[in-house]
Symmetry: C3
Subunit: 128 residues, 3 copies
Amino acid sequence: MPLARIDLCAGKPDAYRRRLADIVYESMLDTLNAPRDDQFQVIAQHAPGDVIANPTYLGIQRSSDVVFIQLFLLAGRSVAQKKAFYETVAETLHCELGVRREDVFIGLVEVTRENWSFGNGLAQYVTE
Amino acid sequence: MPLARIDLCAGKPDAYRRRLADIVYESMLDTLNAPRDDQFQVIAQHAPGDVIANPTYLGIQRSSDVVFIQLFLLAGRSVAQKKAFYETVAETLHCELGVRREDVFIGLVEVTRENWSFGNGLAQYVTE
Amino acid sequence: MPLARIDLCAGKPDAYRRRLADIVYESMLDTLNAPRDDQFQVIAQHAPGDVIANPTYLGIQRSSDVVFIQLFLLAGRSVAQKKAFYETVAETLHCELGVRREDVFIGLVEVTRENWSFGNGLAQYVTE
């Protein structure tokens, strides 16, 4: 269902980055009705200064530890599901990894069913 | 409103990359009616050869210094606004940073209002 | 027409990465009716562990050598064209580069005509 892109500054330990990715995946299971094992993610680490988040937009105080999470997913989730996803990701990242809630930026991009191939050159979500 | 991804070959100074990102942001203010301070950008630096742009497509002579700018933004901008954005970005990058106008590649991806969380686990653009 | 993002673990030779990108482009020509020379691609190399693909989702056995291919393209291709693209990419990557067919993940994101600028600050696909 989704491809997640996670962008952050380089320097976090391997275990931190992996747990971060797992939290994004588990939040999808809990709130977006994602199928179990549907975890496809790319973490990109960047030079200091290459991850730019305005420090005050909408009254939210962001730091240089901001994390960008971008999810490309099947269209069809409700606004309530999306809101639950944002809340769960931010809350869990904060509680488990100490990420400031203010530093969790999330963007969704929705696509159709036939726009995915999960391997073997097939369009697994196309049923006709 | 937007998340910008800027991809270029590694090796440009910090100040160059930052000014490039700022020019993209300022062009959004000037042409796309973006809110002030709405600057969220990821710059990714790549190995030589990993940024591939055909050197002649549509009769435009591109060099290896090509810059890819991809903007994920709220749907709703007019064609005229988009055209003004392209022109302003290319012109300003050229005048201020010496980027060849031919080397400015821009792609937009539009999404809906509820697809953004700017921090704190909330969907700030959802009003209901 | 498209911007392709190719994500894989660092460590593959330059010639491998370039051929991989060329195969994606050639498959677009063969199956998606893409115009000749329309090759715009960004290859991003990542640390081990930063390219995450579930090893069994949908019964497909994936390895750590998975390749993510994400195509941002003009809307309008048929389901049959998309299926042919997936099959051609996976088959050719396998035959020419030895990529396991199971390790080829593809996602498409479709956009409109006025969302591209191929250089010079112009919207080349807008005709009015």
